[in-house]
């Protein structure tokens, strides 16, 4: 089959690789019909995620059709019409891999699964514990082959897919694999109260879905912070957000003005470790990251901590991988802020989000700006990273 293989910083190539096979009794093989490039794939593309190796198949946002199931995939536990999973079934697959049986999966904290990462010792050493594996997202997080390919092996398929109806186009369903539940969880972590103002850093797909979700949960006002006018336009149009372009105005001061001097009640980071800032501080982070003295650029984190109202909540959904510098902990401590964060618990939210789409309450297809054949993945990565051609979301068609 054809698959997108990482070659090194800023280079991917579509190569011919062997087809995946069933390796464990609870596996299924899925023929991929649509797969997206996620914003967090750009961290891999840029070479910022440790333990990605040359030749690794990347990608974690996908859907497709079941072509083969292992002998233990007989008791599908979630999804429309939950029953036996069969070849021919159409499914969306969450990006995080959960076993369904460990204490974390059973408490609906799927991205903290104990049992899906075969390289657990590595993560245990770095992070103190093991978390769930993620498709195509480094050997630290399991080393599973990713989804930007024609076929993929899905472990724990009995709990790891959601069945979807056949009469709805891919573009409406694909993002319940990753971007929508990530945004939704960001809003949920904020514990939004009626009347709250929620500020969202980053107006990519995750940020946009976080904004929409914040309104679903009762927010009165949502403020989007980004530097690309076309993204801020989308935030205005599809997520009814007020917007701040941080390259034009000081985001911190603007937020104060827009919230009566209080600061937002909750702040969501939908950017992660490659955040851009302005001025000296941005120069400091960029330099330290290039010299490998700091693994992540925490610009958004710092800005959120200072901007948030007293007693407010910060939800971090953008990916961080290692160590960050110059965190204003004094602000966070004295203001009594609450931090909540983590990889999204896909299996917890997918059913609910699918229902929203089936009920016509949510149509996520607006984020797709580019649809390319899988063979043009390298071009897709390039324009997404450089934000060329107003690129917000690339969907690859194997």
């Amino acid at each position: 089959m054809k698959a997108v293989c990482w070659q090194g910083a800023n280079e991917v190539r579509v190569e011919s690789v062997p087809d995946p096979t069933i390796l464990n009794p609870r596996d299924a093989i899925i023929k991929i019909t649509s797969t997206a490039i996620c914003g967090s794939d750009l961290h891999i593309y840029g070479g910022y995620i440790p333990t990605v190796q040359k030749g690794d198949i990347i990608g974690h946002e996908f859907m497709g059709e079941v072509v083969e199931v292992g002998r233990e995939v007989n008791n599908l536990k979630i999804g429309v019409d939950a029953k036996r999973l069969l070849p021919g079934d159409r499914v969306v697959v969450p990006s995080t891999i959960g076993c369904g049986n460990c204490a974390y999966c059973q408490r609906d904290m799927w991205s903290l699964c104990d049992n899906s990462n075969p390289n657990s010792w590595l993560e245990e050493k770095l992070f103190g514990n093991v978390t769930s594996a993620i498709y195509g997202y480094s050997h630290l997080l399991g080393g599973y082959a990713g989804a930007q390919a024609e076929y993929i092996r899905v472990p724990f398929a009995d709990v790891g897919v959601v069945k979807v109806p056949s009469d709805i186009p891919d573009e409406k369903l694909l993002f319940i694999s990753d971007a929508i539940p990530t945004g939704y969880m960001g809003a949920e972590l904020c514990d939004i109260q009626p009347g709250d103002t929620v500020a969202v850093w980053g107006s990519g797909a995750v940020g946009l879905f976080a904004m929409i979700s914040a309104y679903m949960m009762g927010a009165e006002k949502v403020i989007a912070i980004d530097r690309f006018p076309e993204r801020l336009e989308m935030a205005k149009k599809y997520a009814k957000a007020e917007v701040i372009n941080y390259e034009e105005v000081n985001a911190g001061e603007a937020l104060k003005e827009m919230t009566g001097g209080r600061g937002p009640d909750a702040c969501i980071d939908a950017v992660g470790l490659e955040a851009h800032g302005v001025g000296l501080e941005d120069f400091y982070d960029q330099t330290k990251q290039k010299l490998k003295l700091e693994s992540d650029r925490p610009h958004v984190l710092r800005e959120m901590m200072v901007a948030c109202r007293k007693g407010g909540t910060l939800a971090i959904m953008g990916v961080y991988g290692g160590f960050v510098d110059k965190i204003p902990l004094g602000a966070a401590f004295n203001k009594g802020l609450t931090f909540r964060m983590g990889q999204m618990h896909g299996q917890k939210y997918m059913h609910l989000l699918l229902q929203q789409i089936l009920d016509g309450k949510l149509d996520p297809s607006f984020v797709v700006t580019h649809q390319l054949p899988l063979a043009e993945a390298a071009h897709g990565y390039h324009i997404f990273q450089q934000k060329k051609d107003n690129c917000v979301k690339v969907v690859l068609k194997p």
């Binding site: 089959m1 698959a3 293989c5 990482w6 190539r13 190569e15 690789v17 062997p18 087809d19 995946p20 096979t21 390796l23 464990n24 009794p25 609870r26 190796q53 040359k54 030749g55 690794d56 198949i57 233990e72 076993c99 369904g100 049986n101 460990c102 204490a103 059973q106 104990d114 049992n115 899906s116 990462n117 075969p118 657990s120 010792w121 245990e124 093991v130 594996a133 399991g142 080393g143 599973y144 082959a145 390919a149 092996r153 472990p155 724990f156």
Partner: protein, 231 residues
Amino acid sequence: MTSTGDRTTKTTPEANEMERWASLIGGGAMVLTGLSQRSLKGVLTALAGGGLVYQGLTKQSTIQQAQEALGINKPIKVEKTVTINKPADELYRYWHNFEQLPTFMKHLQSVKVYDAKRSHWIAKAPLANNVEWDAEILEDRENEFISWASVEGADIDNSGFVRFKKAPGERGTEVKVVLEYNIPGGGISAALAKLFGEEPEQQIGDDLRRFKMLMEAGEIATTEGQPTGKR
């Protein structure tokens, strides 16, 4: 209320030590550094021998015992604990069927059970002959504790125990493994490296992780045999 000082001062230091051992192995946590000058096998044997024969456990005699039995080499000890979301009896049952251990212990090639006490173990040693030994169960408390030690003539003298203890709340069972290896005539680290790779602690940890996966998820997560591009 008065302090409990009376009680502790009446007890001899040696007995204190013993009490500590007994409670350690029976239930509490164990810090391996505390074990550094003693033989695990000696302690396990004394515990299994029905009474806590405190003479046999004084610091002095244990060191002598260990030196006589094992030469002057310092034994290698490994300690690892994992929490498994299953009741203790289920885990104990699987473990107690020693012939099943190679399903998750990668360094083992096979285990053959002779009778209720004795079994024969073969471990893979890459680039060398396999390592073999006969082991004997020292103590066996159903659903709680199994300890064992190799008998005379083992390629690598070893002993250990596994303890199954209910975790607090609804958190399943804490499974703790402590192992100790002695190789007469030196070269311990080289021989162990052959058995377990460079880091025995990590290998045992991986074995326990695989045990947990097998017990909880019914399979051991793997990526071996999946496709990849050119490396």
